[in-house]
């Protein structure tokens, strides 16, 4: 796997690709996607030999953000891909590309109510059937934060002594803008 | 054909090896402890539920009812209350209860205590038929203790 080449391909698919300091945050790259590119991105990742570590949702404004975590068996390359759900709280499924996503998507549906379009069996997994509309991990109005509030603040006296210069500036506004466009 | 017989013989030999292990075990001494009759010595470092320490020099506990443990507890299972009394410096402890049904034995309360008034008890034989049996009144316990 040639990381530069892969990165180039990511850039084609995504709105932003940023390097992250591994020692501070525990992952290497942040990739911001639009929700219709998620499937293409997953296909690319599978072809490059990445495995799906995790799939989760974070409830922020303006919309719920779905975070895919990928890593590679051979080299250390931990990628977080993020995409905001569309205004119907929907997201295309990747469970036919990464079968392991099947349960993660069902769980996200349980906890956050994100509907994955094309999922073969989107029934409650962790929660009982009758709690289908419970969505327990959605934040209460008072606690709900904007997406910028949970992003790493760029300029800061390095928090950890061993951390090298703080990660590169965030490109988040772009993601938000894209959300507004959709 | 060769593998047919070799498999038979290696297989049979592996079975005999297994029998050797178990027959050796059959004649070796048992390792279990017959619990209610014999008991193993529990390490003094065992962390049971918390208890107030009775200090030998004063014959009393050292709790100043600051409530640090109460705030630190992840499961909110400690209740501490104190009151001001005439002629006594600081607050006097009036209530110190532990809801052991909720406690996860993390030890945060013991570590946060500014006067080191708390310690883990060594009790491990805790069985009961009601939840209320595990709502310990630590103040009463420390007063009753020798």
């Amino acid at each position: 796997m040639d990381i530069n080449q892969v990165k180039k391909q990511w850039q084609e698919l995504s709105t932003a690709v940023e390097d992250v300091e591994y020692a501070v945050s525990g992952h290497d790259y942040n990739v911001c996607l639009e929700c219709d590119k998620v499937r293409d991105f997953a296909t690319l990742m599978l072809d490059e030999g990445f495995y799906l570590v995790d799939l989760m949702a974070v409830h922020v404004t303006p919309a719920i953000e779905v975070v895919y975590q990928f890593a590679h068996f051979e080299t250390r390359c931990r990628v977080l891909a993020r995409a905001f759900v569309d205004d119907k709280v929907e997201m295309p499924t990747i469970s036919d590309i990464y079968q392991g996503a099947n349960w993660h998507e069902r769980e996200t549906r349980d906890f956050h109510g994100v509907v994955f379009i094309g999922h073969p069996y989107l029934k409650p997994l962790i929660l009982p059937e009758e709690d289908v509309d419970l969505k327990p991990l959605l934040k209460a109005e008072a606690k709900l934060k904007d997406v910028d509030a949970v992003r790493r603040k760029p300029p800061e006296p390095a928090p950890a002594p061993k951390a090298k210069p703080a990660p590169k500036p965030e490109v988040k506004p772009a993601a938000v803008k894209s959300q507004e466009q959709s | 054909m060769k593998s047919y017989f070799s498999e038979l013989f290696t297989g049979a030999w592996s079975l005999i090896l297994g029998l050797k292990v178990t027959i050796k075990a059959l004649v070796s001494p048992i390792v279990t402890v017959q619990y209610p009759r014999e008991k193993i010595v529990v390490t003094p470092n065992y962390r049971g539920h918390i208890d107030l320490i009775k200090f030998a020099d004063t014959g009393a506990h050292k709790c100043i009812s600051c409530g640090s443990c109460m705030r630190e507890c992840p499961s909110d299972c400690i209740v501490v209350e104190g009151e001001k009394r005439e002629g006594v410096k600081g607050k006097v402890l009036t209530i110190f209860t532990l809801d052991f049904t909720k406690c996860s034995l993390c030890g945060a309360c013991v570590e946060v205590c500014p006067t080191k008034a708390l310690d883990y008890s060594n009790e491990y034989e805790l069985a009961g038929s009601t939840r209320e049996q595990f709502h310990f009144d630590l103040l009463k316990r420390v007063e009753e203790r020798e």
Binding site: Y98 | S14, P74
Partner: protein
């Protein structure tokens, strides 16, 4: 729960549905699997989860991050210290706390003891699944020694809450060191016995070889990690791939298999115990003196805004904590990626067309801890 059993049975009369669990001897906890059977062949499997869901992720959003430490131990009761380790590391990383070296050594030693303990329990329980009653007693005999050693230093026997943000709660002493060394010697002398009684046994080999074969590609698609992945020949171990703590200092091998069947993961786990012993030995030799707590751990642990990930190698595979912080001391979102969850999700594909007995061996090879899946 959700599979329409009636319809399935009526539609295809030659198939019927067998309900395995939630109380079944070989599901190890409250896992339920619906098996669609044709004769004794499982044509379709549907795991039903959630019987042990305890809302850990929700709980995490309601209290200071460091108060979540006891909860981590309750997720995987067999790898409690390793779960502690991952979480402590996450917060240290996030808050920028430098951990003293002695602490790292203690963490590695106790984590590896914990890993051996977990593998020993799996070893016995797996053989119980396969119908051998005796090995579990032998492995528990060994396991009790670990529990005694760990009890002496951590104070508990199963759901440890020993690690703290920036350190450990209690220093290890000479008794621990000698006890651990004695245990290493003992366990090494026991391995030949296990080889004779179990590993070489023809019946066991026949039950495991060529059953539930996985490939690296399947593992990538399902996110399978841990001994199952290593059984397919991929030497992927978080201790090597993303060396956390001080694992880069130690010389140890990553056992791998070739075929990816149950026997491969069985032997990987067995050899991992040996490797863990090696790590412990080296760590005991190099144990430095020093404090057991970082110098400056703020009482209120504020985590700078941003997202943090911490991955460690749990006994069953890769464990990742993903924390989103909004700058306060309470996590905005904490997601725990538990290895068994991804590992279990493969069984519909892994066990298709298998005999019922093989489904039991395949499920045992996954080394499931159900509370970890349900969280």
């Amino acid at each position: 729960m959700s599979m329409d059993v009636k319809a399935l049975e009526d539609d295809r009369h030659h198939r019927y549905v067998l309900n395995m669990g939630p109380q079944h001897p070989s599901t190890h906890g409250v896992l339920r699997v619906l098996l669609e059977l044709e004769g004794e062949y499982a044509m379709n499997l549907l795991p039903v989860l959630g019987y042990g869901h305890r809302c850990h992720e929700k709980i995490a959003e309601f209290k200071p991050a460091k108060s979540f430490m006891p909860n981590t131990a309750r997720m995987d009761y067999l790898g409690a210290l390793i779960y502690n380790h991952g979480f402590a590391q996450l917060l240290e990383k996030a808050a920028g706390i430098e951990v003293p070296e002695r602490v790292e050594y203690i963490r590695v030693i106790t984590s590896e003891l914990n890993r051996i303990q977990s593998h020993l329990l799996w070893y016995g329980a797996y053989l119980l699944d396969l119908g051998a009653f005796t090995p579990i007693m032998y492995s528990f005999d060994d396991r009790e020694h670990i529990l005694d050693i760990l009890e002496d230093v951590t104070g508990s026997r199963l759901t440890y809450c020993y690690f703290r943000v920036g350190g450990v709660s209690k220093d290890i002493d000479e008794k621990f060191v000698t006890g651990t060394r004695a245990f290493i010697k003992r366990l090494r002398s026991r391995f030949p016995m296990y080889e004779d009684l179990v590993n070489g046994n023809i019946i066991l080999q026949k039950r495991l070889i060529d059953v539930g074969e996985l490939t690296p590609h399947i593992c990538a698609r399902y996110g399978i990690t841990g001994p199952l992945l290593r059984g397919t020949g991929v030497a992927y171990d978080m201790r090597r791939a993303e060396p956390y703590s001080i694992y880069s200092k130690f010389d140890f091998e990553i056992p791998t298999g070739t075929k990816g069947d149950c026997m491969a993961s069985f032997m990987v786990r067995f050899h991992e115990m040996e490797q863990s012993l090696r790590i412990i030995e080296q760590a005991l030799d190099g144990l430095p003196e020093g404090p057991i707590m970082a110098a400056k751990v703020p009482k209120k642990l504020k985590i700078p805004a941003g997202d943090y990930n911490s991955s460690v190698e749990a006994p069953r595979g890769e464990l990742s904590y993903y924390l989103v912080s909004d700058g306060s001391d309470v996590p905005y979102r904490l997601k725990v990626r538990t290895p068994s969850y991804s590992n279990l999700s493969v069984i519909p594909e892994m066990c298709q067309g298998m005999l019922l007995s093989d489904v039991v061996s395949a499920m045992g090879a996954l080394d499931l801890v159900i509370p970890e899946i349900d969280r």
